[in-house]
């Protein structure tokens, strides 16, 4: 087992998987708090505090998954880190400024009053939107192999909107879990409306990716591969349908089923992610650099892996503890 894990040809694959898990956890976890940030644009002012309270204890740790994902890219695949981030220089700038604005607005907002509070709320909404759109944009450019053409930019713009919609969807489902009364009913409506956009985005990427690259087309549509892979799109379709039906029935008395929409959405995110991971593996920069070409020295990777195997279970453990402590409906936040 140890020999298998630490084998020089396996290490890059293990690190690609670890990075994948971090990205998936980031997209689900920070996805819901970015989504709630954007939803504050349409929510009535009195609901803002509850919405902030629904993500207050979590957002910081959620964002750390991004740091881990980028960190793993940096330390395990330094050549790819340079290539990807240099090519995405401007969207990265927008992403970072968005994250800075929303992160600090969160704190500043809690300590401001009147007009000033309104500004920080606007910074929170704007920062959340900018970060989400930038991530979608980067995803679009990355999917097409970091090319810059008008078609690629148009596609990136489309993915940007769709990913933002997906974040709004998962944000709304998190609110269904954490809010009650009028806000919960509103969250159900928001989830229903964003569902169509998120679905459109997923279908678009699924169609565009194989069309853009003959390699990917072959990877997906050759017999018998297509038979093995068919459970992914079918499961995603079923999850969308189930989500649609569940949302139509919520809220229910006794708050039954308020966790289901979030779990279904997270499942959809995971399926989309696995589809994409399958498409790109073994490339870390599409069609240019494989995980083996981009990897750091095996000694360095082994050392990081030892630490990861020890620490990751602890991280997951205390993350679970935090979610357990803050379970139940969100109330106004007060520092203790």
């Amino acid at each position: 087992m140890i020999d298998f894990l630490f084998h020089p040809t396996h290490l890059p694959v293990i690190f690609a998987s670890l990075m994948g898990i971090s990205i998936l956890l980031y997209v689900i976890l920070d996805g819901y708090d970015l989504g709630i940030g954007m939803l504050m644009a349409v929510a009535p002012e009195p609901d803002h505090d509850t919405m902030v309270a629904a993500i207050g204890p979590f957002w910081d740790a959620n964002e750390t998954w991004l740091v881990l994902a980028v960190g793993l890219l940096l330390v395990a695949f330094p050549a790819a880190h340079g290539m990807i981030l240099t090519a995405l220089y401007l969207p990265v700038l927008v992403l970072l400024i968005g994250l800075i604005l929303r992160g600090v607005a969160f704190e500043f907002r809690a300590k401001a009053h009147g007009v000033e509070r309104g500004w920080w709320t606007a910074a929170f909404i704007g920062g959340s939107a900018a970060a989400s759109l930038a991530q979608g944009w980067m995803l679009g450019i990355y999917v097409l192999g970091l090319e810059v053409s008008w078609a690629a930019l148009g596609f990136a713009a489309l993915v940007a909107v769709c990913l933002a919609a997906a974040y709004v969807l998962i944000g709304a489902t998190w609110l269904i879990l954490k809010a009650d009364g009028a806000l919960q009913r509103r969250a159900v409506v928001w989830a229903r409306r964003s569902l169509a956009f998120a679905l459109a985005g997923m279908v678009l990427i699924s169609i565009a990716t194989p069309l853009a690259s003959p390699r990917l087309f072959a990877k997906w549509f050759e017999w018998p591969t297509i038979a093995y892979l068919s459970p992914i799109p079918i499961a995603a379709g079923v999850a969308f349908l189930a989500l649609w039906r569940v949302l139509a029935r919520l809220p229910q008395p006794g708050d039954r089923g308020s966790l289901t929409p979030f779990l279904l959405t997270a499942g959809i995110f995971a399926l989309g992610f696995f589809g994409m991971a399958y498409s790109f593996f073994p490339y870390v920069v599409p069609d240019r650099l494989t995980v083996w070409q981009a990897a750091s020295a095996p000694e360095a990777l082994s050392l990081i892996l030892v630490g990861t195997l020890f620490v990751l279970p602890m991280i997951l453990g205390y993350t679970a503890l935090s979610y357990r402590i803050f379970r139940g409906k969100a109330r106004g936040l007060t520092y203790g």
Binding site: D60, I304, Y335
Partner: protein
């Protein structure tokens, strides 16, 4: 300006902005734990009130540190791809261990520390506070290991231009780590101490003189008075360590051109690198020889031994004087205020005013110190291994100029907002009696 200089300014701006906040939170975390412990031991509600104000300061500072830290992790790739390509096998594991052991720990338990007081038992809340403090300190440890290794690299070999680790023990405990880590942790302690004291002094001046204000004032001033002599000692030892490993940096700090004995200590001068002389020298004869060699005739290295391999002199020379100057001021102010506070139990109005002015003095000294050591490492990114020029990305200058402008605008705005909010938090720490006074958690 060329893209490399812009990229350097951008990295300097980002890391300067970032370091302001960890410098506060590393020590403020331990301060909060101390305050909590005092409350638990004495049951005195005033300590809880101290906690309530400074935990807000902590939360705000922490958020600013987190978001500016995320920026840093991306900038390695966007602006300095050569760094990780060449020394990634050493830098990578160190950065990874920082994220794994420190970031998640502090981020997760911060949520419990800030918002969990009515959801968890008192012991768990105290434990969360302790884990946040441990997390911030661990984070400082790993990042200073990497930074120290960049100054005094050991435990590696170079194959095909790429660095490979050979001895991790040597890398982690590299020659400058003990000095740099101690110096930085003490700097954090002083920064937090003056911040705590400064905000309390502001309240005291505005006639908010309840027991919690005096407690915070006493704790801050006493901590500063204890830490500053230790810092002067640690700084001196760090300087001697630098003399051993990076003599060109020390030559620039002293503004000394020729290697010789009886080198004066320059209180002021205008180093002229083009002509390789100093103008307007005000000096203490043989002072530098005495400090660095413990003898008036001790030989001090000069910049002319390192032509083409030494840092730009003026920024290192002046930054060093700013750091030492603020340090001396800290010594005078903290001892003066501590003496009176312990004898009379309150500061004089003049002392309170001076302490308010010194609220952010730790920032000035810390930044100046970092400029000394980081500019002092130039032209190297990793001493003797990788030049800064070799690591820069090919992003064109106008693009870097655009991102630099955006960062600068946002950072200036945030610093103004930060100082404004801290001031207001301090002044409104005691809500009007008629308002909804926060209910204290007596059960804890």
């Amino acid at each position: 300006m060329d893209a490399e200089l812009l990229a350097r300014i951008q990295f300097a701006a980002n890391i300067s902005f970032h370091i302001l906040f960890p410098t506060i939170t590393i020590a403020l975390g331990w301060f909060l734990l101390f305050v909590r412990a005092r409350f638990l031991m004495t049951g005195d509600q005033a300590w809880m009130q101290v906690y309530r104000l400074y935990v807000r300061v902590f939360a705000l500072s922490f958020a600013l540190g987190v978001v500016s830290g995320i920026t840093m992790s991306f900038q390695f790739g966007t602006n300095w791809p050569g760094f990780m390509e060449r020394v990634g096998n050493v830098a990578g594991p160190l950065l990874a261990y920082e994220v794994l052991t420190a970031f998640f720990l502090e981020a997760t338990f911060l949520g419990i520390m800030l918002f969990g007081h009515d959801r968890v038992p008192g012991w768990l809340h105290t434990l969360a506070t302790a884990l946040v403090a441990i997390g911030t300190s661990l984070s400082a440890f790993w990042i200073l290991v990497l930074n120290s290794w960049m100054h005094t690299p050991v435990g590696f070999e170079i194959r095909d231009g790429v660095v490979f680790a050979t001895d991790w023990w040597a890398i982690v405990f590299n020659p400058s780590l003990p000095y740099r880590l101690t110096h930085m942790l003490l700097a954090s302690g002083l920064t937090a101490a003056f911040l705590v004291a400064g905000l309390a002094a502001l309240r005291w001046l505005k006639n908010d003189r309840d027991r919690d204000v005096v407690l915070a004032l006493k704790t801050g001033v006493t901590a500063a008075a204890v830490l500053i002599p230790l810092q002067i000692l640690a700084g001196d030892m760090h300087g001697l360590n630098t003399l051993q490993h990076q003599p060109a940096k020390v030559a620039a700090m002293e503004g000394n051109w020729e290697t010789r004995g009886h080198v004066p200590l320059l209180l002021f001068a205008w180093p002229d690198q083009a002509n390789r002389v100093n103008h307007f020298e005000i000096a203490i004869p043989s002072g530098a020889s005495l400090i660095l060699g413990h003898s008036p005739s001790a030989v001090v290295p000069g910049l002319n031994d390192f032509v083409g391999r030494h840092p730009p002199v003026a920024p290192v020379f002046f930054a060093f004087r700013v750091m030492v100057g603020v340090g001396v001021l800290m010594l005078l102010v903290s001892w003066w205020a501590a003496y009176r506070l312990w004898r009379r139990g309150e500061p004089s109005p003049l002392q309170a005013r001076v302490l308010v002015l010194m609220t952010f003095s730790g920032w000035v000294a810390t930044l100046a110190g970092w400029y000394v050591t980081e500019i002092g490492r130039q032209p190297w990114l990793v001493t003797g291994v990788l030049r800064t020029t070799e690591a820069v990305s090919a992003v064109p200058a106008p693009t870097v100029a655009l991102s630099l402008t955006a960062y600068l605008l946002i950072y200036v705005a945030l610093i103004i907002a930060y100082i404004g909010v801290l001031t207001r938090l301090a002044l409104k720490a005691h809500p009007a009696p008629s308002g909804a006074a926060p209910r204290l958690q007596a059960a804890e």
